[in-house]
Symmetry: C2
Subunit: 133 residues, 2 copies
DNA sequence: CTATTATAGACCCATAAAGTCTTTGAAAGG
DNA sequence: CCTTTCAAAGACTTTATGGGTCTATAATAG
């Protein structure tokens, strides 16, 4: 079990947008250079973030991606869910009634992790970065 | 990102052993029937648990698998680590120095989940099951 | 010695992640 | 209106891994 690389890229891209230019749009090639990956691949990831309402896109000259107005409230969990989906990490497939004790333990542990990820906003890290400069 | 089915099988098998016969060994075909999967596949999973020192195996007639002496202290996390490995769920591959803030957040969230999984022992659930009978 | 059981490893298949390429569509600016 | 610049969409390829089978080997009880 591993987080996908796409999640890593998404988190870094969001942090970069938040720390640099929440206002001005930034092109995908520029964003891709930071992480040394292909622009077309990153654009697929960004499109997911757009669909989830975290990022705005603008076509045409001087276009690009920028954060949406509500960006200060975006948490790690929001971004992870946008890429990985919102399904539970654990599914008990065994056919033994609806109340699987194991399932309950696994889900409650997962919720502990999600709670933490929900509490950390991308804006928190962006502040740390800009303060360090 | 999902837990593997093997983890699900391992947890259920451990629980079944703990709730049924911590003393007498149980054959893999019997264990496999419970979860409706092939004995050879389950044996691969059980071998991992043996190597991690949670389960004892005995070849030959009247052989099979049984829990080890220390079984009351075995946690969910122990079993999960035996199957999934102990690596972190998140690796920041981006080349930007050793102190990735994102990595730190992800790891600390993961530790919250692990803490919970470390606190729940398979013996706890086994007690619940036997008490319910 | 034989029946029974675990162990090991080669092997296969399906699915999903990871990434490329090409076409289409939208906007800005002359 | 035409061209340039950008994102969006989707087909496609590649690679890795989970999930599983099969067969041969080793250990042990009786």
């Amino acid at each position: 079990m591993k987080y996908s690389k796409a999640t890593n890229y998404a988190l870094h891209t969001m942090l970069h947008l938040a720390a640099a230019t929440p206002d001005k749009p930034m092109g995908v090639q520029q964003l891709a250079q930071q992480q040394k990956l292909s622009p077309t691949y990153l654009s697929k990831i960004l499109t997911k973030l757009v669909k989830e309402g975290m990022v705005q896109s603008a076509s045409g000259a001087n276009g690009g991606y920028s954060l949406k107005a509500n960006w200060e409230s975006i948490s790690f969990l929001d971004i992870i869910h946008a890429i990985e989906g919102k399904a539970s990490l654990f599914d008990c497939d065994v056919d033994h009634g609806p109340n699987c004790l194991i399932q309950q333990v696994m889900v409650s542990a997962e919720e502990k992790m999600e709670e933490e990820l929900r509490n950390v906003k991308i804006a928190d890290l962006a502040k740390e970065i800009t303060a360090a400069k």
